[in-house]
Subunit: 205 residues, 2 copies
């Protein structure tokens, strides 16, 4: 696989997921950086040429543009061992990836963005009023992961799949959003297992 370009903001966990998947698969990817703090993904050039949704990441594959981090990971990993061959396991992996986007990212990642990138002083009233609900929902998501990881070394059995990659991205710096990973020992152990695997790269790689 060649000729891939990742349109990204490198510190975004959603962008990191795609680089981490590519690293495990040994797939080279060219990178183009956009400063989301300056609105560079809302420019006419981005909206018309890269993605009408105005968000990174977008994986460019020749003349095609694929948005949504987990879909880009699936594209890269399709046919590899990062996607289980068993029908139920494959759907269960997707279950965790949809759950990540619905129950985890809007809480764990959004609080990191609000607190670590924008800062609480820069939030508007509607954002500020959502903080308690997002803290509760984020802790519930982490608790659910922790309970699952008490029973299994990786999200789907005993080997790395895209479910681990999707959930590792924002979980491993949940502290930036104000969450205390010390409350979730099974998550901490799993983070260690994931980061010790051959092929693993850090977000700064």
């Amino acid at each position: 696989m060649s000729g891939l370009i990742l349109h990204e903001y490198a510190q975004s966990g959603n962008c990191y997921k795609i680089r981490l998947t590519a690293a495990h698969l040994g797939i080279p990817i060219e990178r183009r950086e956009y400063d989301i703090m300056k609105g560079e993904t809302r420019s006419a050039a981005f909206l018309d040429g890269v993605s009408a949704n105005g968000r990174i990441p977008v994986l460019q594959i020749g003349d095609d543009y694929l948005a949504e981090s987990n879909a880009a990971c699936f594209y890269l990993a399709d046919g590899s061992s990062l996607i289980p061959a068993d029908r139920y396991d494959r759907a269960d992996m997707l279950h965790w990836m949809f759950w990540e986007q619905y129950n985890h990212e809007p809480n764990v990642a959004t609080l990191r963005f609000w607190r670590f990138f924008i800062g609480e002083a820069g939030l508007n009233e509607a954002q500020r009023s959502q903080i308690p609900a997002k803290e509760a929902a984020g802790n519930a998501a982490l608790a659910l992961m922790d309970a699952h990881l008490a029973r299994t070394p990786f999200f789907i059995g005993d080997r790395l799949t895209l479910a681990d990659i999707a959930l590792y991205a924002y979980t491993h710096f949940a502290d930036d959003g104000g969450f205390d990973l010390g409350d979730f020992p099974n998550i901490v152990a799993w983070l260690g297992r994931v980061s010790a695997l051959p092929g693993h790269i850090s977000i700064d790689a």
Copy 2:
């Protein structure tokens, strides 16, 4: 495929997606109803026995329980024509399904739930403060769909895939959430194409 049980709340669009997928595939599904307005998915029996996430739908497959509507649709449709055989198209279908859960459902479906099921008088202050942002984001999601559907009869080319099923569910009663589908003629035409297909069933079927 047999022995499937859908744990659901029939009026939920997320549950309807799974029934609609099964109908197109001719797969019989037994149904168990839970009243989410009475908190029946937050009972200990549900949390311990069906899903620790406390949400419907959950597709039971023998002794296994699969949460997340779009993952359950993928399980049912795996290997069928509802999932494209082409690698890019398959990932592009997933892109629309992840986008649906992140950009569409939390706006279009949540405003339907708040306005049509709970009623504005029953909302708390944090919910009420989110209405303008959810209206804007929901209209932006519908506009993005409308622009895409100006160029293609179905989300992925000229035939029905899970992307259409996932997006049909809450789009076809977006009016319940206060959105005006009259502003989106390409969506209206697409809704007509989807509902005219052999195998289609309504949410009340």
